[in-house]
Each structure stands twice: as structure tokens, then as C-alpha cells.
Symmetry: C2
Subunit: 478 residues, 2 copies
């Protein structure tokens, strides 16, 4: 017999949300710190979540005609600097390669912080005619941004992401692509991660360095802070002019194409933790769960129980579910706590009496609800209950978001609401950066986005009283 | 109407094999040079081949219990240097990050040339008990080795690969893993890439820096040069001692685990080009071809032809084939040349008369053979012909290998055979490095491997005349 392992405790989220978050990252074995400061290791369970996210997103990208490529990871400094705003935005965070083997390099090379420059450089050499447009590219890779303070998934010096980069004949097509990809992220959050989002446009102050417009999906975490979920950028022809990307148009004259980029990162795992997790650990939406169901035999020393549990596992696997079984000699209590920590959506229990009755018990991770399931309906019920877990998670997150958006009509009121409730504060805004800076300084909030779904709360800006142009959502963000 | 595009010519392989190779890389749009010297861009078509390779290999790895992870890309110099042989092997080729943002780093960081050190560092912190073994990890990533001369896929400063790293309780288990993964590569080459391999062990001179034993699969290209296809390394407990990786054994005493690593790279794409390509371009084995069948309508201006071709495409897609259709206004000749250049295994032609006869024509890329296929048998015949292309490619490559292995009994004879025929030269060998150096210096060949399938050609070493220990295969390698 094995020594009984201790069930590891995590900090309560009400007591210390930040520590609760870190505890889950470590105890669910998602991530581990590396010996390089600010860098992390994605462990098998964490990486398996990322693989599921990749597979689903990649499938969506391909459905709309995108193709994957691989660009070099190092960018010559001169190339990075051709477009002024981009380099100004990223220069303080770039890691530089200055030596190759024992030789000092003539020109230092940036570890990519983002790859607009490389794509443009490539396109300047391969694009000739409007017939080759659009070019719809994506790459899955890691990037480095030399952040001062780091947290697993949310902010680390190296992170894993996809960066889509596309080139179009017209501004309208590029703008449509920007919107399409933003909606792709929004659908992924809502339909796969079970996290509702607010779709909108970033203010000029908050947009991507070098972009003409940045669209964003903003989510709310359980502590009512905001998390930027994914962004999609429209560049106009700014980069193609800077990098001399041209094509012969339908009129046979040289033209500059229009460009977009869009990215989502391993920070989505952080979003899942903080949107759905609880004091027993991680809670995973079924579509990205590495293990969707775990079969735990009850009284497994009794004859036939393990065989029965294995038959259950085999049927679920044959039906296409990601299923695991635990016949280890750990106690039932330890096993249950362990799979709760790991966020497995459904636990399937079956003991001798269940077998006699031709049934098993399915226990939902999101609300603890137990359902007796006749073995004749096993596969169908598994699917229904997984869907119920997804729906239950989405509904809780939807209520959390809906109940924590507050209108405000002055900076003071916005500040008071944020301090009392947290969440998103919506106000009218004149469009001036000065008012954003005032909100940041006085109420500690940044503008999250100008939502596509506008409301007319008032005629004037909550900050300065001048005529309002937009409704803005403010929040404290990760 | 579009202007007729010119069909691009490539150099004949008999005239200039190296130029023929580069021409295919560029004209089949697999790869493009980057503006960073020695770095390449994997274009959509090249990357799609890599994705197919990844999907199949990754599936095999997972079947045998391996899990993917992601390790940091940067390795502190002190960590890299803990195991002396490894760092001596790789130090001249390391790219160094010395600045993060505007700060000079206290310790320079290596862009990973390989990740044994990172895995060991991680394991030294997370491994506790024999119950957690084996740890069967893999990662897909890019690495940098600062090579002096580079060629697309074969040798570039950055390349994409998978690196498996595993940890075991006993030496026997680690050795079994080393063999299993070598066989995994061999099967992949033979059953997926249609390239026969010679399996064997590297000599001490040629083995991986720091390994106790390196196993390899060696392939022969159409110019009869050798290409190392993939390697699998057994480390014993050398690294775990250097990095202080320990576990509590069954006897509750601290022990050092035994380790393996194994890797295969984008160089496999180079192997496919040089094993199967011809003077019309790339020839792809069906399992990794991004497009397995391309439907090209004949006389497509005639009524109903395009619709018929689309119906064909839809049926093949529904049957699970990767299929494409070309209804552009380019000429039939241009289209055929284009899909030959891209190595599409089967071209499916259908014109008005075929439609009347309820048939189409399938043309094999590997040998130009045409088959009339009744539409009622479309899906089945497509599968059979794709299999025939695979078998045909394998058989040609098998004959090429079998006909270009020559026994030799002296360095002079080995040299003469290599100069006259190229290929693999097999000789007996005493086991001394001096004889390897002599063969290199006098006959220009390195030892490729000590094949697992040994033959007794003679009693004495072909180089020095001392008693022989093994039969070795020599060759000129990429």
C-alpha cells in the first residue's frame, strides 16, 4: 500500500486572490518557475490545456482561409526600427542577441516581441500582384517582452501565442478581417472558454503601437478585475509604406496593401483560472479540459469493480471523450480532492451497488451536482452533462459580469464604485487623452474599451463635462 | 483573361544537384531566405508539410505515453555549463542574449541549442519519488545553432524540431526508451515519408555531446549522399548527477534517474526533397502532402465541367482526402507543371467526354501513370492510387539504397568506390578513432553508423588491419 498523500490546501480566494491564483497555477501542476528570472515552464497539464486551445483556434483560423508559417525569431535592429511607433512601443522590452558563437555581431538582433516587421520584410520580397492578395498568415510561437514584474500566464518575459498577420488589396477588406478575427476571439471565449466578453475598440492611448485601430475582447475575473482577452489590429497602409510592400493593382499601377494583425496568448489559461476557479482549485470548461471525465471506482477492492470501471472508461473513450481512470491505491477522498484541484469537469463514480443497479454517478465539478446515470445511456448523458457544465460556467460568469457593470457620471463616483464593488465602470467620455489620464490618476482605472454596443448615459464627459463622444468602460486590469 | 504565367524552370539534378535542390525549395514555395543571414522563413506550403509531419509524429509520441511541455528558450550560461561535454559540443554555436530592454544582463543567456539542461534543472525541483517515473516529455520549438554555412532545411541557424526528454528509474528502461524512439523515427521514415533507413549506433566520435550512446537512422539521397534522419540518445545518469536530479527509490534511498533525449527536425523536409524529387520538382509522399489530390477540369469553359469538377472535389473532401481544385484561367499546361512542381501526388482530370463516360483520369506524380477511374469507384480508387504512389516512392528509394551500398576492404578501395559510385561504403572497423580520422582524411567520408544488422565482411579493420570489432557504414553526409 502507498503512503496516503496529503491533499494540498490552497489559499481561499476571498482571503488573498493573488495567492489563490498562484496556488492553483502550482498545485494543479500547470506551470513552474524556471531558473531564469521571469520565465516559466508550461508543465504537461498546463500545456495540454494550451494544445486544446490551439487546436480549436487553429481550426477556426483555417476555416477562414488562414495558413500557418514560421518566421525567424531574431529581427535585425535596423529592420525593427523602420516603423517608428512600433519600435518606440516595444524597445524598452526587447531582449537583444549580441553574440553568435564567439563572435560579436555587427548588428544586434532582437528576440521578436511581435513580428509585424518580419512579415512586412518578407512580403516586400514575395508580393507582386493583386492576384496574390489577400495573404492570410498566422504563426504559433513564443515571444519575449522584458517585463519588470511577472505572474504565471498573465505577464511573463516569454509567453506563447499566435500572431496572425494579413495583407489586403483594400482598406475595407482589411477592416473586415480585423473585425472577423475579433469576433473569432469573442466566440472562442464565449463558446469554448465559457467566458462572456465585452467587444470594443481601444482608445488611441491604449491601442497597439503602430496600429490605426485596435479592437479588443475584455473579460471580467472573479475578483471583478478586467483582463484583456485578445486583440485585433488594423494598420491601414502604414507598415506597407514603411517597409516598401507594394503590388501591381488591377489598374497595373503600384499600390500599398492594407494590413492587420491579431493575437491571443497563454494568458487565456490565466483567464480560465480566474473566471471559473474556486476554493477547491481549477474548474475547466469541458472543451479545453485535458481530461473531461475521470472514472473513480468506489470500493475497488471488491470483485469486478475495477473491470467494470475500465469498461466504463473504454466506452467513454470510444465515444470520443477525453477520459481517464484512477485505480491507484490512494483514498477516495484524496482522489476526489485531486481531480477537483485539476478542474476535471465530470467525475464518474461506480461501486458494487451501482453495478448491480446498472448505473454510475456523475458529479459535476462546477456545482457538485450528482446525477445517477443508467449505463445504457452512458455516452449520451456524458455529453449532456459536459454541456451542462459549460452552460453552468458561462451562466455564472455572465451573472458576474452583468452584476458588476456600473454607470457613473463623475470621476469621484467612478472611483467610489470601483472601491466599493470593483468591476467595470461605464461613463461617457469626450475622447480626450487628458480625461483618461485623470481617470487613471484619480480613480486608478484605465479605459478598457469603447464598447461596440454603445449606450447614451449622458450628454457630457464624466471627467471634464465637455460634450461626450463615446461611452467608455473603465476598470482595473491584469 | 489573365496573362499566361511562365512555367518556371528548375536546374536538372544531373547537371547541378545542389542548385536543383535550392530551386525546388524556392520554386515550390517551401522556404524563403530571411533578411537575417543564415535564417529562413517557412512559407505556407512548406509549413503545411511540417504540420503534417508534426501531427503524425506527435500522435505516435502520445500513443507511447509522452506529454508535451514548453521550456524557456533562454538558458543561463552557468546552467548550460554544468555538464562539461554538452557545453563543449555546443558552445561555439550558441547565440547569446546579453541585454534585456536597456539593461546589460548580469549573466548572459543562451538561446537554447538543445534543452537537456533546462529539463534537468526542472526535474531537479519537481521529482521526488520513483512513483513519478518515468517522466516522458517532449517539446516542439525552434533552436538556434550559429552555423557558418547554411542551406534551407539542411543547415540553418534557426530550425524547428521536437526534442523528447525522458527520465527513468533504471538504465534498462532508459535504454528501451532510446531504442523505442529510434524505431519510431525509422517507422516514420519508412511508412510515412517512404524513405528506407539504416538503423544503427553512432561511433563515439560522432555521438551527441554528453551522450553515452547515440542511435541514428541514416537515409540515402538521390545523389547517393547520406542524410542523418533522426537521433536518439542514452545519457545514463551523467546529467542527473551533474544537475543533481534525484528521487527516493523503492528502497527509500536517494537515487539518480537515467535519461534519454531524441530529436527530429525540419531537415526531414530536405530529406523528402532529395529522396523523391525529380526534374519537374517536388514529389511528396501522400501522408504528408498538404494537397493529396488536385482536381483540374479539362475544357472548363464547356457547360457543366466546372460543376462536375466541384462535385468530384466535394466527394473526395467528404471522404477525408486533402483535395484542392484549380478553376483559374491559367492554361492546362501551366496548371500541370505547377502541381508537378509542388509535388501533389495525384492530379485528377475530368473533361466533357469523361463526364459523359462517368469517369475521370487520375495521374500519378511519381511515375506519370494515368488511370481511368469510374466515378462510382472514385473514393476507393483515390485511396488505392495514393497508396500506390507511396509504395512506388518507397520502392524506388529502396532500390537506390540497395544498389548503392558497397563493401570495401581498404581505405583505397573505399575511396575509389565512393568516387566512382557515391553511396554507402561498408567496411570492418577496429573501433579506434584514428581509423575514422584516416577514412575522413584519405577518403573524405565520415562514419554514418554501426548498423544494428551486422555482417561479417572480414576479420580485420579495413583501415589499420587490426582485428575488427564492427562493420561500419561510411558516407559523405549532408
Amino acid at each position: 500500500m502507498a503512503k496516503e498523500k496529503k491533499v494540498e490546501q490552497i489559499t481561499d480566494m476571498e482571503q488573498d486572490f493573488a495567492q489563490w491564483y498562484t496556488d492553483i497555477c502550482r498545485k494543479a501542476e500547470l506551470v513552474e518557475y524556471a531558473s531564469v528570472k521571469g520565465f516559466t515552464i508550461l508543465r504537461p497539464y498546463g500545456y495540454a490545456i494550451w494544445e486544446n486551445m490551439q487546436r480549436i483556434l487553429d481550426g477556426e483560423f483555417k476555416k477562414t482561409g488562414h495558413q500557418n508559417v514560421a518566421m525567424p525569431v531574431l529581427i535585425p535592429e535596423s529592420l525593427l526600427k523602420k516603423e517608428g511607433e512600433l519600435v518606440n512601443g516595444f524597445a524598452p522590452e526587447v531582449a537583444w542577441v549580441t553574440m553568435g558563437g564567439s563572435e560579436e555581431l555587427e548588428e544586434r538582433l532582437a528576440f521578436r516581441p511581435t513580428s509585424e516587421t518580419m512579415f512586412c520584410d518578407h512580403w516586400s520580397r514575395v508580393l507582386h500582384s493583386y492576384r496574390e492578395l489577400p495573404m492570410l498568415y498566422n504563426q504559433w510561437c513564443s515571444v519575449i517582452r522584458w517585463e519588470k514584474t511577472t505572474r504565471p500566464f498573465l505577464r511573463s518575459r516569454e509567453f506563447w501565442w499566435q500572431e496572425g498577420h494579413t495583407l489586403h488589396e483594400t482598406a475595407e477588406e482589411a477592416m473586415a478581417e480585423t473585425e472577423q478575427q475579433l469576433n473569432c476571439y469573442a466566440d472562442f471565449y464565449e463558446k469554448v472558454l465559457a467566458i462572456p466578453v465585452v467587444r470594443g475598440r481601444k482608445t488611441d492611448k491604449e491601442k497597439f503601437a503602430g496600429a490605426e485601430a485596435t479592437y479588443t475582447v475584455e473579460c471580467m475575473m472573479k475578483d471583478h478585475k478586467a483582463l484583456q482577452g485578445g486583440t485585433s489590429h488594423y494598420f491601414g497602409d502604414k507598415f506597407s509604406r514603411a517597409y516598401d510592400v507594394t503590388f501591381a493593382g488591377r489598374d497595373n499601377k503600384l499600390q500599398y496593401p492594407f494590413q492587420t494583425s491579431w493575437g491571443a496568448t497563454t494568458r487565456m489559461i490565466g483567464a480560465v483560472i480566474m473566471a471559473h476557479g474556486d476554493n477547491n482549485g481549477l474548474v475547466l470548461p469541458p472543451q479545453i479540459a485535458p481530461i473531461q471525465l475521470v472514472v473513480v471506482p468506489v470500493a475497488q477492492h471488491k470483485p469486478g469493480v475495477i473491470e467494470g470501471a475500465m469498461a466504463l472508461r473504454d466506452r467513454l473513450a470510444a465515444a470520443g471523450y477525453r477520459v481517464s481512470i484512477d485505480t491507484s491505491d490512494n483514498s477516495m477522498g484524496w482522489k476526489c480532492a485531486q481531480y477537483e484541484m485539476k478542474g476535471v469537469p465530470l467525475r464518474v463514480e461506480m461501486g458494487p451497488r451501482d453495478m448491480e443497479n446498472g448505473q454510475c454517478v456523475m458529479v459535476r465539478r462546477d456545482n457538485g451536482e450528482k446525477t445517477f446515470v443508467a449505463l445504457s445511456e452512458l455516452e449520451q448523458k456524458a455529453g449532456e452533462l459536459l454541456q451542462a457544465v459549460h452552460d453552468g460556467l458561462y451562466e455564472k460568469a455572465r451573472v458576474n459580469l452583468a452584476e458588476h457593470i456600473y454607470p457613473a457620471f463623475s470621476i469621484e463616483e467612478a472611483k467610489a464604485l470601483q472601491e466599493e464593488h470593483g468591476g467595470f465602470i461605464k461613463t461617457m467620455w469626450c475622447g480626450e487623452e487628458a480625461c483618461e489620464l485623470a481617470m487613471k490618476e484619480k480613480a486608478g482605472m484605465s479605459s478598457r474599451c469603447i464598447p461596440f454596443q454603445q449606450e447614451h448615459l449622458a450628454d457630457t464627459c464624466a471627467c471634464c463635462g465637455k460634450p461626450a463622444k463615446h461611452m467608455v468602460i473603465w476598470g482595473v486590469a491584469y
